[in-house]
Symmetry: C2
Amino acid sequence: MPKVTETHKEQRRQAILNAAEQVFLGKGYQLATVDDIAVRSGLSVGALYRYFPSKSEIMLTLMEERLGRTPDLLERLTADAGGPWDQMSRCVDIFMLALRVRHPSTGRLLLVAWGEALQDRVVREGLLDRFRGVVDYLSGVIERGISSGEFRPEADAHVLASLLMCLADGVTLYWAANTPGLELQAIRATVMSMVRSYLSVQ
Amino acid sequence: MPKVTETHKEQRRQAILNAAEQVFLGKGYQLATVDDIAVRSGLSVGALYRYFPSKSEIMLTLMEERLGRTPDLLERLTADAGGPWDQMSRCVDIFMLALRVRHPSTGRLLLVAWGEALQDRVVREGLLDRFRGVVDYLSGVIERGISSGEFRPEADAHVLASLLMCLADGVTLYWAANTPGLELQAIRATVMSMVRSYLSVQ
DNA sequence: TAAAAAAATGAACGCTCACTCATTATACCA
DNA sequence: TGGTATAATGAGTGAGCGTTCATTTTTTTA
Protein backbone atom coordinates (compact mmCIF):
# COMPACT_ATOMS: atom_id res chain seq x y z
CA MET A 1 0.00 0.00 0.00
CA PRO A 2 1.38 3.38 -0.96
CA LYS A 3 0.07 4.82 2.26
CA VAL A 4 2.18 7.87 1.62
CA THR A 5 3.85 9.59 4.57
CA GLU A 6 1.87 11.98 6.72
CA THR A 7 4.19 14.89 5.97
CA HIS A 8 3.78 14.33 2.24
CA LYS A 9 0.04 14.55 2.66
CA GLU A 10 0.43 17.70 4.71
CA GLN A 11 2.60 19.20 1.98
CA ARG A 12 -0.12 18.53 -0.59
CA ARG A 13 -2.66 20.13 1.73
CA GLN A 14 -0.54 23.23 2.11
CA ALA A 15 0.07 23.34 -1.64
CA ILE A 16 -3.67 23.38 -2.18
CA LEU A 17 -4.13 26.10 0.43
CA ASN A 18 -1.36 28.18 -1.11
CA ALA A 19 -2.81 27.77 -4.58
CA ALA A 20 -6.28 28.63 -3.32
CA GLU A 21 -4.99 31.72 -1.57
CA GLN A 22 -3.28 32.93 -4.74
CA VAL A 23 -6.37 32.32 -6.83
CA PHE A 24 -8.75 33.90 -4.32
CA LEU A 25 -6.54 36.97 -4.02
CA GLY A 26 -6.45 37.25 -7.77
CA LYS A 27 -10.14 37.04 -8.67
CA GLY A 28 -12.08 36.69 -5.45
CA TYR A 29 -13.79 33.63 -4.05
CA GLN A 30 -16.82 33.51 -6.31
CA LEU A 31 -14.98 33.90 -9.58
CA ALA A 32 -12.27 31.43 -8.58
CA THR A 33 -13.00 27.93 -9.85
CA VAL A 34 -11.97 24.66 -8.29
CA ASP A 35 -10.21 24.00 -11.56
CA ASP A 36 -8.09 27.13 -11.11
CA ILE A 37 -7.01 25.91 -7.71
CA ALA A 38 -6.29 22.40 -8.94
CA VAL A 39 -4.16 23.60 -11.85
CA ARG A 40 -2.20 26.00 -9.68
CA SER A 41 -1.49 23.36 -7.07
CA GLY A 42 -0.40 20.87 -9.73
CA LEU A 43 -3.16 18.39 -8.94
CA SER A 44 -6.27 17.21 -10.68
CA VAL A 45 -9.70 18.22 -9.48
CA GLY A 46 -10.37 14.71 -8.28
CA ALA A 47 -7.22 14.60 -6.19
CA LEU A 48 -8.06 17.94 -4.66
CA TYR A 49 -11.35 16.53 -3.44
CA ARG A 50 -9.46 13.89 -1.51
CA TYR A 51 -8.05 16.67 0.66
CA PHE A 52 -11.01 19.01 0.95
CA PRO A 53 -14.67 18.10 0.71
CA SER A 54 -15.73 21.33 -0.97
CA LYS A 55 -14.58 24.67 -2.29
CA SER A 56 -16.06 26.50 0.68
CA GLU A 57 -14.19 24.26 3.10
CA ILE A 58 -10.94 25.40 1.50
CA MET A 59 -11.93 29.00 2.13
CA LEU A 60 -12.89 28.30 5.74
CA THR A 61 -9.60 26.50 6.37
CA LEU A 62 -7.70 29.44 4.91
CA MET A 63 -9.56 31.77 7.23
CA GLU A 64 -8.92 29.65 10.30
CA GLU A 65 -5.28 29.00 9.61
CA ARG A 66 -4.21 32.32 8.11
CA LEU A 67 -6.59 34.94 9.48
CA GLY A 68 -7.93 33.51 12.70
CA ARG A 69 -4.51 33.44 14.26
CA THR A 70 -4.18 37.22 14.23
CA PRO A 71 -4.84 37.54 17.99
CA ASP A 72 -2.19 34.92 18.80
CA LEU A 73 0.26 36.59 16.47
CA LEU A 74 -0.34 39.98 18.03
CA GLU A 75 0.16 38.50 21.46
CA ARG A 76 3.37 36.69 20.54
CA LEU A 77 4.89 39.77 18.96
CA THR A 78 4.15 42.10 21.83
CA ALA A 79 4.31 39.91 24.91
CA ASP A 80 7.93 40.79 25.66
CA ALA A 81 7.34 44.54 25.52
CA GLY A 82 8.80 46.80 28.18
CA GLY A 83 5.52 48.06 29.54
CA PRO A 84 2.02 49.26 28.55
CA TRP A 85 3.28 52.17 26.45
CA ASP A 86 5.73 50.06 24.54
CA GLN A 87 3.16 47.33 24.14
CA MET A 88 0.56 49.77 22.83
CA SER A 89 2.91 51.32 20.34
CA ARG A 90 3.99 47.94 19.07
CA CYS A 91 0.40 46.83 18.62
CA VAL A 92 -0.33 49.92 16.56
CA ASP A 93 2.83 49.42 14.56
CA ILE A 94 2.06 45.81 13.79
CA PHE A 95 -1.52 46.49 12.83
CA MET A 96 -0.98 49.57 10.74
CA LEU A 97 2.29 48.80 9.08
CA ALA A 98 4.30 45.68 9.88
CA LEU A 99 1.62 43.21 8.81
CA ARG A 100 1.28 45.00 5.49
CA VAL A 101 4.99 44.77 4.84
CA ARG A 102 5.75 41.34 6.21
CA HIS A 103 2.57 39.43 5.48
CA PRO A 104 0.87 41.32 2.67
CA SER A 105 -1.34 38.42 1.67
CA THR A 106 -3.02 38.45 5.07
CA GLY A 107 -4.45 41.87 4.35
CA ARG A 108 -5.72 40.87 0.94
CA LEU A 109 -7.18 37.70 2.37
CA LEU A 110 -9.14 39.88 4.75
CA LEU A 111 -10.64 41.61 1.74
CA VAL A 112 -11.65 38.24 0.29
CA ALA A 113 -13.17 37.23 3.61
CA TRP A 114 -15.24 40.41 3.89
CA GLY A 115 -16.41 39.70 0.38
CA GLU A 116 -17.88 36.41 1.50
CA ALA A 117 -19.05 37.57 4.91
CA LEU A 118 -22.47 38.61 3.72
CA GLN A 119 -23.26 35.36 1.96
CA ASP A 120 -21.59 32.88 4.29
CA ARG A 121 -22.49 32.73 7.97
CA VAL A 122 -19.38 30.79 8.94
CA VAL A 123 -17.04 33.25 7.27
CA ARG A 124 -18.83 36.09 9.03
CA GLU A 125 -18.48 34.37 12.37
CA GLY A 126 -14.81 33.79 11.68
CA LEU A 127 -14.34 37.52 11.18
CA LEU A 128 -16.25 38.31 14.35
CA ASP A 129 -14.18 35.79 16.34
CA ARG A 130 -11.04 37.46 15.08
CA PHE A 131 -12.48 40.83 16.08
CA ARG A 132 -13.30 39.60 19.55
CA GLY A 133 -9.88 38.02 19.95
CA VAL A 134 -7.98 41.15 19.03
CA VAL A 135 -10.25 43.45 21.01
CA ASP A 136 -9.94 41.28 24.11
CA TYR A 137 -6.18 41.33 23.90
CA LEU A 138 -5.98 45.07 23.31
CA SER A 139 -8.45 45.70 26.12
CA GLY A 140 -6.23 43.71 28.45
CA VAL A 141 -3.18 45.75 27.48
CA ILE A 142 -5.03 49.00 28.09
CA GLU A 143 -6.49 47.86 31.37
CA ARG A 144 -3.10 46.85 32.66
CA GLY A 145 -1.83 50.30 31.74
CA ILE A 146 -4.67 51.85 33.70
CA SER A 147 -4.08 49.60 36.72
CA SER A 148 -0.40 50.45 36.78
CA GLY A 149 -1.25 54.13 36.71
CA GLU A 150 0.45 54.78 33.38
CA PHE A 151 -2.78 55.32 31.44
CA ARG A 152 -5.54 57.74 32.31
CA PRO A 153 -8.10 55.93 34.51
CA GLU A 154 -11.11 57.43 32.72
CA ALA A 155 -10.12 55.80 29.44
CA ASP A 156 -12.57 53.14 28.26
CA ALA A 157 -10.41 50.14 27.39
CA HIS A 158 -13.02 48.21 25.44
CA VAL A 159 -14.14 51.17 23.36
CA LEU A 160 -10.62 52.21 22.48
CA ALA A 161 -9.76 48.63 21.58
CA SER A 162 -12.79 48.27 19.29
CA LEU A 163 -12.00 51.60 17.72
CA LEU A 164 -8.42 50.61 16.96
CA MET A 165 -9.52 47.30 15.53
CA CYS A 166 -12.04 48.96 13.21
CA LEU A 167 -9.43 51.47 12.16
CA ALA A 168 -6.84 48.78 11.49
CA ASP A 169 -9.20 46.77 9.32
CA GLY A 170 -10.44 49.87 7.52
CA VAL A 171 -6.87 50.79 6.67
CA THR A 172 -6.14 47.22 5.64
CA LEU A 173 -9.09 47.07 3.27
CA TYR A 174 -8.28 50.31 1.51
CA TRP A 175 -4.66 49.27 1.39
CA ALA A 176 -5.60 45.91 -0.10
CA ALA A 177 -7.67 47.75 -2.71
CA ASN A 178 -4.59 49.74 -3.72
CA THR A 179 -6.01 53.09 -2.68
CA PRO A 180 -3.76 55.82 -4.04
CA GLY A 181 -2.40 58.27 -1.49
CA LEU A 182 -2.76 56.01 1.52
CA GLU A 183 0.39 56.60 3.56
CA LEU A 184 0.70 53.80 6.11
CA GLN A 185 3.73 55.34 7.81
CA ALA A 186 2.05 58.68 8.36
CA ILE A 187 -1.21 57.10 9.49
CA ARG A 188 0.58 54.94 12.02
CA ALA A 189 2.40 57.95 13.43
CA THR A 190 -0.79 60.00 13.68
CA VAL A 191 -2.72 57.17 15.32
CA MET A 192 0.02 56.69 17.86
CA SER A 193 0.11 60.38 18.58
CA MET A 194 -3.67 60.45 19.12
CA VAL A 195 -3.60 57.36 21.30
CA ARG A 196 -0.78 58.85 23.35
CA SER A 197 -2.62 62.06 24.04
CA TYR A 198 -5.82 60.14 24.78
CA LEU A 199 -4.23 57.71 27.24
CA SER A 200 -1.80 60.08 28.94
CA VAL A 201 -2.59 60.92 32.52
CA GLN A 202 -3.96 64.49 32.65
CA MET B 1 -48.77 54.04 -28.52
CA PRO B 2 -48.58 53.48 -24.80
CA LYS B 3 -45.40 55.47 -24.66
CA VAL B 4 -45.84 55.56 -20.94
CA THR B 5 -44.94 58.75 -19.05
CA GLU B 6 -41.37 59.46 -18.11
CA THR B 7 -42.17 59.52 -14.37
CA HIS B 8 -43.80 56.12 -14.64
CA LYS B 9 -40.65 54.73 -16.18
CA GLU B 10 -38.56 56.34 -13.47
CA GLN B 11 -40.81 54.78 -10.82
CA ARG B 12 -40.23 51.34 -12.31
CA ARG B 13 -36.51 51.98 -12.38
CA GLN B 14 -36.51 52.96 -8.73
CA ALA B 15 -38.66 49.95 -7.86
CA ILE B 16 -36.06 47.71 -9.45
CA LEU B 17 -33.24 49.46 -7.61
CA ASN B 18 -35.10 49.19 -4.32
CA ALA B 19 -35.80 45.53 -4.88
CA ALA B 20 -32.20 44.88 -5.87
CA GLU B 21 -30.93 46.67 -2.79
CA GLN B 22 -33.15 44.55 -0.54
CA VAL B 23 -32.08 41.33 -2.22
CA PHE B 24 -28.38 42.23 -2.24
CA LEU B 25 -28.49 43.19 1.44
CA GLY B 26 -30.17 39.90 2.19
CA LYS B 27 -27.92 37.40 0.44
CA GLY B 28 -25.11 39.38 -1.16
CA TYR B 29 -24.57 40.14 -4.81
CA GLN B 30 -23.38 36.74 -5.99
CA LEU B 31 -26.15 34.70 -4.41
CA ALA B 32 -28.85 37.12 -5.48
CA THR B 33 -30.50 36.07 -8.73
CA VAL B 34 -32.05 38.30 -11.33
CA ASP B 35 -35.23 36.36 -10.66
CA ASP B 36 -35.15 37.39 -7.00
CA ILE B 37 -34.94 41.03 -8.04
CA ALA B 38 -37.68 40.69 -10.62
CA VAL B 39 -40.10 39.01 -8.22
CA ARG B 40 -39.46 41.56 -5.50
CA SER B 41 -39.98 44.48 -7.84
CA GLY B 42 -43.20 42.99 -9.18
CA LEU B 43 -41.90 42.65 -12.71
CA SER B 44 -40.90 39.80 -14.96
CA VAL B 45 -37.28 39.08 -15.79
CA GLY B 46 -37.85 40.23 -19.35
CA ALA B 47 -39.29 43.56 -18.28
CA LEU B 48 -36.40 44.11 -15.93
CA TYR B 49 -33.99 43.78 -18.82
CA ARG B 50 -35.75 46.68 -20.53
CA TYR B 51 -34.50 48.90 -17.71
CA PHE B 52 -31.05 47.49 -17.04
CA PRO B 53 -28.81 45.66 -19.49
CA SER B 54 -27.29 43.34 -16.92
CA LYS B 55 -27.24 42.33 -13.27
CA SER B 56 -23.91 44.02 -12.72
CA GLU B 57 -25.23 47.28 -14.16
CA ILE B 58 -27.91 47.27 -11.46
CA MET B 59 -25.22 46.96 -8.83
CA LEU B 60 -23.14 49.74 -10.36
CA THR B 61 -26.15 52.04 -10.52
CA LEU B 62 -26.92 51.32 -6.88
CA MET B 63 -23.37 52.20 -5.98
CA GLU B 64 -23.39 55.43 -7.94
CA GLU B 65 -26.77 56.61 -6.77
CA ARG B 66 -26.74 55.41 -3.18
CA LEU B 67 -23.09 55.19 -2.13
CA GLY B 68 -21.26 57.56 -4.43
CA ARG B 69 -23.13 60.54 -3.11
CA THR B 70 -21.66 60.24 0.37
CA PRO B 71 -19.28 63.18 -0.15
CA ASP B 72 -22.14 65.42 -1.33
CA LEU B 73 -24.29 64.34 1.58
CA LEU B 74 -21.53 65.02 4.06
CA GLU B 75 -21.02 68.44 2.54
CA ARG B 76 -24.71 69.33 2.56
CA LEU B 77 -25.16 68.30 6.18
CA THR B 78 -22.17 70.20 7.50
CA ALA B 79 -21.90 73.23 5.25
CA ASP B 80 -23.87 75.45 7.60
CA ALA B 81 -21.75 74.62 10.65
CA GLY B 82 -20.58 77.40 12.96
CA GLY B 83 -16.86 76.89 12.37
CA PRO B 84 -14.16 74.26 11.93
CA TRP B 85 -14.70 72.67 15.34
CA ASP B 86 -18.42 72.39 14.87
CA GLN B 87 -17.93 71.14 11.32
CA MET B 88 -15.44 68.52 12.43
CA SER B 89 -17.63 67.24 15.21
CA ARG B 90 -20.62 67.02 12.90
CA CYS B 91 -18.62 65.07 10.33
CA VAL B 92 -17.59 62.57 12.96
CA ASP B 93 -21.13 62.35 14.26
CA ILE B 94 -22.59 61.74 10.82
CA PHE B 95 -20.01 59.15 9.89
CA MET B 96 -19.95 57.22 13.12
CA LEU B 97 -23.54 57.37 14.19
CA ALA B 98 -26.13 59.37 12.27
CA LEU B 99 -25.76 57.48 9.01
CA ARG B 100 -26.21 54.20 10.85
CA VAL B 101 -29.42 55.38 12.46
CA ARG B 102 -30.97 57.36 9.63
CA HIS B 103 -29.80 55.44 6.57
CA PRO B 104 -28.93 51.97 7.81
CA SER B 105 -29.07 50.42 4.35
CA THR B 106 -26.21 52.62 3.18
CA GLY B 107 -23.88 50.90 5.61
CA ARG B 108 -24.97 47.46 4.60
CA LEU B 109 -24.67 48.38 0.94
CA LEU B 110 -21.08 49.30 1.65
CA LEU B 111 -20.53 45.75 2.86
CA VAL B 112 -22.00 44.39 -0.36
CA ALA B 113 -19.80 46.70 -2.39
CA TRP B 114 -16.64 45.63 -0.59
CA GLY B 115 -17.69 42.09 -1.27
CA GLU B 116 -17.60 42.76 -5.00
CA ALA B 117 -14.59 45.05 -4.96
CA LEU B 118 -12.09 42.29 -5.50
CA GLN B 119 -13.82 40.74 -8.47
CA ASP B 120 -15.15 43.86 -10.17
CA ARG B 121 -12.84 46.66 -11.20
CA VAL B 122 -15.62 49.20 -11.61
CA VAL B 123 -17.02 48.55 -8.14
CA ARG B 124 -13.55 48.93 -6.71
CA GLU B 125 -13.05 52.22 -8.49
CA GLY B 126 -16.41 53.41 -7.22
CA LEU B 127 -15.27 52.76 -3.67
CA LEU B 128 -12.00 54.56 -4.28
CA ASP B 129 -13.82 57.55 -5.79
CA ARG B 130 -15.98 57.74 -2.72
CA PHE B 131 -12.87 57.54 -0.56
CA ARG B 132 -11.22 60.35 -2.47
CA GLY B 133 -14.36 62.49 -2.33
CA VAL B 134 -14.76 62.20 1.42
CA VAL B 135 -11.05 62.60 2.14
CA ASP B 136 -10.87 65.72 -0.03
CA TYR B 137 -13.79 67.28 1.78
CA LEU B 138 -12.46 66.42 5.24
CA SER B 139 -9.01 67.68 4.28
CA GLY B 140 -10.54 70.98 3.26
CA VAL B 141 -12.35 71.31 6.57
CA ILE B 142 -9.15 70.62 8.50
CA GLU B 143 -7.06 72.94 6.38
CA ARG B 144 -9.50 75.77 6.91
CA GLY B 145 -9.28 75.14 10.63
CA ILE B 146 -5.51 75.37 10.44
CA SER B 147 -5.61 78.54 8.36
CA SER B 148 -7.95 80.23 10.79
CA GLY B 149 -5.64 79.35 13.65
CA GLU B 150 -8.16 77.14 15.42
CA PHE B 151 -6.37 73.88 14.66
CA ARG B 152 -2.75 73.07 15.38
CA PRO B 153 -0.65 74.02 12.34
CA GLU B 154 1.51 70.88 12.49
CA ALA B 155 -1.52 68.64 11.94
CA ASP B 156 -1.44 66.77 8.62
CA ALA B 157 -4.86 67.35 7.09
CA HIS B 158 -4.70 64.65 4.46
CA VAL B 159 -3.44 61.96 6.80
CA LEU B 160 -6.02 62.71 9.45
CA ALA B 161 -8.75 62.76 6.83
CA SER B 162 -7.68 59.37 5.42
CA LEU B 163 -7.46 57.97 8.90
CA LEU B 164 -10.97 59.09 9.78
CA MET B 165 -12.34 57.70 6.54
CA CYS B 166 -10.75 54.29 7.15
CA LEU B 167 -12.03 54.31 10.70
CA ALA B 168 -15.54 55.24 9.61
CA ASP B 169 -15.71 52.47 7.04
CA GLY B 170 -14.16 49.96 9.42
CA VAL B 171 -16.80 50.75 11.99
CA THR B 172 -19.50 50.61 9.33
CA LEU B 173 -18.43 47.18 8.13
CA TYR B 174 -18.35 45.65 11.58
CA TRP B 175 -21.63 47.33 12.37
CA ALA B 176 -23.17 45.97 9.16
CA ALA B 177 -21.96 42.51 10.16
CA ASN B 178 -23.82 42.83 13.47
CA THR B 179 -20.71 42.68 15.62
CA PRO B 180 -21.76 42.23 19.24
CA GLY B 181 -20.47 44.81 21.68
CA LEU B 182 -19.87 47.55 19.13
CA GLU B 183 -21.03 50.74 20.84
CA LEU B 184 -21.38 53.43 18.21
CA GLN B 185 -22.17 56.17 20.74
CA ALA B 186 -19.09 55.49 22.82
CA ILE B 187 -16.85 55.14 19.77
CA ARG B 188 -18.05 58.44 18.38
CA ALA B 189 -17.36 60.18 21.69
CA THR B 190 -13.88 58.68 21.98
CA VAL B 191 -12.99 59.54 18.39
CA MET B 192 -14.13 63.09 18.91
CA SER B 193 -12.13 63.35 22.10
CA MET B 194 -9.01 62.07 20.33
CA VAL B 195 -9.48 64.36 17.37
CA ARG B 196 -9.97 67.30 19.72
CA SER B 197 -6.76 66.68 21.57
CA TYR B 198 -4.89 66.06 18.33
CA LEU B 199 -6.09 69.24 16.62
CA SER B 200 -6.04 71.58 19.61
CA VAL B 201 -3.41 74.25 19.53
CA GLN B 202 -0.63 73.35 22.03
C1' DT C 1 8.52 -9.04 -8.89
C1' DA C 2 3.62 -9.62 -8.26
C1' DA C 3 -0.22 -8.21 -5.79
C1' DA C 4 -2.77 -4.92 -3.29
C1' DA C 5 -4.15 -0.70 -1.64
C1' DA C 6 -3.95 3.99 -1.80
C1' DA C 7 -3.68 8.08 -4.77
C1' DA C 8 -4.53 10.55 -8.83
C1' DT C 9 -6.97 11.41 -13.18
C1' DG C 10 -10.35 13.99 -15.95
C1' DA C 11 -14.49 13.20 -18.66
C1' DA C 12 -19.14 13.43 -17.56
C1' DC C 13 -23.16 14.88 -14.83
C1' DG C 14 -26.46 17.77 -13.16
C1' DC C 15 -27.75 22.00 -11.58
C1' DT C 16 -27.97 26.91 -11.38
C1' DC C 17 -28.64 31.17 -13.46
C1' DA C 18 -27.96 35.28 -16.55
C1' DC C 19 -29.94 36.47 -20.49
C1' DT C 20 -33.12 36.12 -24.97
C1' DC C 21 -37.09 36.28 -27.80
C1' DA C 22 -41.52 34.85 -29.75
C1' DT C 23 -45.78 35.94 -27.98
C1' DT C 24 -49.27 38.43 -25.41
C1' DA C 25 -51.13 42.42 -22.94
C1' DT C 26 -51.65 47.31 -22.46
C1' DA C 27 -52.10 52.19 -23.07
C1' DC C 28 -52.67 55.83 -26.13
C1' DC C 29 -54.33 58.15 -30.46
C1' DA C 30 -57.25 59.12 -34.36
C1' DT D 1 -63.40 51.84 -30.94
C1' DG D 2 -59.84 49.86 -33.79
C1' DG D 3 -55.10 50.28 -34.90
C1' DT D 4 -50.49 50.60 -33.44
C1' DA D 5 -46.43 51.14 -31.02
C1' DT D 6 -44.67 50.16 -26.68
C1' DA D 7 -44.38 47.34 -22.51
C1' DA D 8 -44.45 43.00 -20.23
C1' DT D 9 -44.30 37.99 -20.07
C1' DG D 10 -41.85 33.69 -18.91
C1' DA D 11 -40.44 29.41 -20.96
C1' DG D 12 -36.35 28.34 -23.19
C1' DT D 13 -31.23 28.38 -24.00
C1' DG D 14 -26.61 27.89 -23.35
C1' DA D 15 -22.66 28.38 -20.74
C1' DG D 16 -20.18 27.75 -16.49
C1' DC D 17 -18.91 25.28 -12.64
C1' DG D 18 -18.96 22.27 -8.32
C1' DT D 19 -18.83 17.63 -7.66
C1' DT D 20 -18.51 12.51 -8.73
C1' DC D 21 -16.66 8.11 -10.07
C1' DA D 22 -14.99 4.52 -13.22
C1' DT D 23 -10.45 4.01 -14.60
C1' DT D 24 -5.47 4.42 -14.51
C1' DT D 25 -1.13 5.23 -12.16
C1' DT D 26 1.88 4.94 -8.34
C1' DT D 27 3.94 3.27 -4.21
C1' DT D 28 4.77 -0.11 -0.81
C1' DT D 29 4.83 -4.74 1.04
C1' DA D 30 5.35 -9.76 0.95
